[in-house]
């Protein structure tokens, strides 16, 4: 068999293995079933510090935000790597002033975007307006 075809097949096999590894080990797993979660929004510019508790079957934070988009006044921006939250409680970040909504999960910095943050029972997801 042509050497180039063999090389391409090897690289494709490695890519498939990499995709499998990414999905198996890196993407956080969602939890099925009903859970009670709290969404907290802090925006010191508007003197907002509100909490909302929901019972939901959704597995990821983004799904809950999309369902409650109107109530939470959420706005999103689509990037090539997924959706980011750009507004909460009808307040949209001013990118000119380097504002963004920082996400905490139970007070800890979130390490992924809302599309990969799994919802867990009794967890609190905080969106705080910050500047960088």
């Amino acid at each position: 068999m042509n050497r180039k075809i063999i090389a391409i097949l090897i690289v494709l096999a490695l890519a498939v293995a990499g995709t499998f590894g990414y999905k198996k080990f890196i993407v956080p797993k969602g939890v099925e079933g009903e859970k009670e979660v709290t969404i907290q929004v802090i925006n010191s510019n508007e003197n907002v510090d509100e909490s909302f508790t929901y019972n939901t079957d959704h597995e990821y934070l983004i799904e809950l935000l999309e369902e409650k988009q109107e109530e939470l006044g959420v706005s999103f921006q689509e990037y090539d790597f997924g959706k980011m939250v750009t507004g909460m409680m009808d307040y949209v970040v001013d990118e000119g002033n380097n504002e963004y909504f920082h996400i905490y999960v139970n007070g800890e910095d979130a390490t992924t975007g809302p599309g990969e943050i799994p919802l867990n029972d009794k967890d609190t997801y905080t969106f705080e307006l910050k500047t960088y």
């Binding site: 180039k4 090389a7 391409i8 690289v11 494709l12 490695l14 890519a15 990499g18 995709t19 990414y22 890196i26 090539d80 790597f81 997924g82 963004y100 920082h102 910095d109 979130a110 390490t111 992924t112 975007g113 599309g115 990969e116 960088y132």
Partner: protein, 167 residues
Amino acid sequence: MKVRDVVLIGILSASITAGKLALSFIPNVEIVTLLFMAYTAVFGYRKILLVSLIFTTTEIFIYGFATWLLGYYILWPLLILITEAMGKRFKSEYIYAAIGAVFGYAFGLFFAVVESFFYGIAYGWVYWVRGLLFDLIHGTSNFIIILLLFNPLKNLLGKLKRNYYTI
């Protein structure tokens, strides 16, 4: 700089922008890496560094200014310099394909570092992790495209250079 160099740099810059736009409907499959590498191998790094400056600046005109474009001003010249350095030692298209693959796999990581300076480490981390699958597609497709097309393109450009440039 001679007039023919100005024309050449303009044509090469336009071809890279056109090549990028032509494949922009497929996420992270591109021929920009292939073109930069082939152009560097045929015309040398000095001219192609200027091409990369024009290409990136054209991107700003098309997409507007964004922080990721700052990375372009570093990343493409880096690829050109690596291609030039490796080209002097190796002639095999497998080496170029491997460079393109590593470049694609590390693309998101590099931009994550750049973005971290602007938006913080947490954002950079999210950016990288969420883009890992895209990087995988990018590196793999780079390897295949360069392995199959680098030599034919280099030979064709060499012929065109002899016929129209080196008169």
